[in-house]
């Protein structure tokens, strides 16, 4: 009984400290805003500390109240909060699809590379290199290519392009993490399977996949966060209506009128990322027995 209470108190302590940390950050923001020079601190032509005007650094309180402000001056318009909320759901959906595709592709590649050494030697450098490609430049291209695809009655939409970009960012951690995991079993365990006359594919199910769980879980979480980031980048690049990325640009353009408004979609994007990573983290809870070999 007392163990349960200790755990609860410890959790409470962590939550409080976390909140304290956020408050410290808020305090630093407001303190600098109050004390810092209007034009920021400029050293040798470079602005190293930000400008402190209300336009450049809105009060934290204003950032929070902006959620309940109306989105535009038309009567009966939605609040910023509800618009950002719908946009977040939209983005989350696209990110989820992208994550799913990325995980599938990543796993297939990892299996291929784990099975055939040559595949690994040939493909891994290119897979690593793939992440140096600036997606923001590629996104319009993907949309262009997609529009060339005609499959029966189905037409490629911009949303598909966004999911593809998200998948592009998501597949990499999964491919690398899954490969490490599939290669992780002890030599002793592999020899055991060999001695039992178990072929590669069966030992995959019995040994390699379970052994890869501790590596796969953080990779999946990272892929979720990457997928959200990729979705937002693609939304911005393509200008997709309905997503959080588009709101960031829109509100930034009207920042003159309401300086705190652009921060709402920023918080929204962060929330989407945290929810995505958290949801995937929950999968980890289901895999408890497979994680017993995990060290720190």
């Amino acid at each position: 009984m007392t163990q349960g209470i200790t755990k609860l108190l410890r959790l409470l302590g962590r939550v409080l400290l976390g909140a304290l940390g956020v408050l410290v950050l808020v305090g630093a923001w407001e303190a600098y805003k109050a004390l810092g020079p209007d034009n920021g601190v400029v050293v040798g032509g470079n602005t190293i500390l930000p400008r402190t005007t209300d336009l450049a650094m809105p009060h934290v309180w204003d950032m929070l109240t902006t959620f309940s402000d109306p989105v535009n001056s038309f009567s009966g318009s939605d609040t910023v909060g509800s618009v950002v909320w719908s946009a977040c759901l939209f983005t989350l959906k696209l990110a989820a699809i992208g994550w799913g595709i990325g995980v599938a592709v990543g796993l297939v590649l990892a299996l291929l590379m784990a099975r055939f050494r040559l595949a690994e030697t040939a493909m891994l450098p290119w897979i690593v290199l793939s992440q140096t490609v600036p997606l923001i430049a590629i996104a319009p291209l993907v949309r262009r290519w997609g529009s060339q695809i005609h499959l029966g009655g189905w037409v490629w939409s911009s949303e598909n392009s966004v999911s593809v970009i998200a998948a592009y960012l998501a597949f990499f951690p999964v491919a690398v993490g899954a490969l490490r995991g599939l290669r992780s079993p002890d030599a002793t365990h592999l020899d055991l399977m060999h001695a039992y006359g178990v072929g590669w594919w069966r030992s995959l199910v019995k040994l390699r996949l379970p052994a890869s769980v501790p590596y796969l879980l953080p990779a999946l979480r990272l892929a979720a966060a990457s997928s959200v980031i990729g979705t937002v980048v693609a939304e911005v690049s393509i200008g997709l209506r309905g997503g959080v990325g588009r709101l960031v640009i829109e509100y930034a353009q009207s920042a003159g009128g309401d300086p705190a408004k652009p921060w709402a979609p920023i918080f929204g994007a962060v929330a989407v990322g945290l929810v995505a990573a958290g949801a995937v983290g929950l999968i980890g809870l289901l895999c408890r027995p497979y994680r017993r070999g995990e060290t720190a």
């Binding site: 930000p50 490609v133 600036p134 262009r144 980031i229 960031v248 652009p262 945290l274």
Partner: protein
Amino acid sequence: MTSATIDTGTTATLRVRPLRDSRLTTLLAPAVLGVLVIGAWQLAVEVFDIDPFIVPSPRAIFDQLVESRASVWEGMRGTGRNALYGLLIGAVVGIVAALLSNALPVVDQMAAPVVAALSVVPIVALAPALYTMFGAAVNTARVIVAAITVIIPVYFNTLRGLRQVRPVHRELMHVYAASPVRIARTVTLPTAVPYVFTGLRIASSLAVIAALIAEYFGGPVDGLGKAITSSAASSNYPLAWAYVIGAILLGLAFYLVTLLVELRVARHQPGS
């Protein structure tokens, strides 16, 4: 002689084979794959007569790259400078923060939500706000965007490395009645070094991408991002692709340099 397992600079584990076999394959296989893919690409563009609007042929891109190499190089320097500053600042901040979090668990727990938020924030979302904060005439926003991208992997990996001290080493230092500073110098920091480098390796190419993305939202005219947008806007697609190649080369260069430094410094360490 029994075969040994080696953790290479990439995240794969290789069993040691006879030298001539593995070295040659490691270089040849990816090169052959690349040549095949590019060859197929060139063939496809020619056979299907694909409009450069969709995708230019590798030949056209290469020609354009050679022709405009001076301006591609200029763009690489601009973006590279911001990425480098971001990498250095982010690395220092990330390492120091990890040292603090390791020494004081209170700091670790207080920083946790902020760090979690930073680890999921899309840079594109922060860029406009940062330009408003720092002004659009300077590169600061770009450097900060790159730095934030670097801090996260460096922080997490360094923190992990600091916590990897083996119990037997800790007990040895306890038996020697060594001072905390001596323990840090002799055991904790050397154990963490390979992890720090893992973080830096991951962060190196991310810094380039972040710096480039930031260029899309304002700021001075230099850099590859600006060059890509302007050449795409004037429908010079081979040139836009040439700049993209430049970006890839820049990211690759950052990664390789970090890898080389790591191989030099952290040779006889158990890998992460």
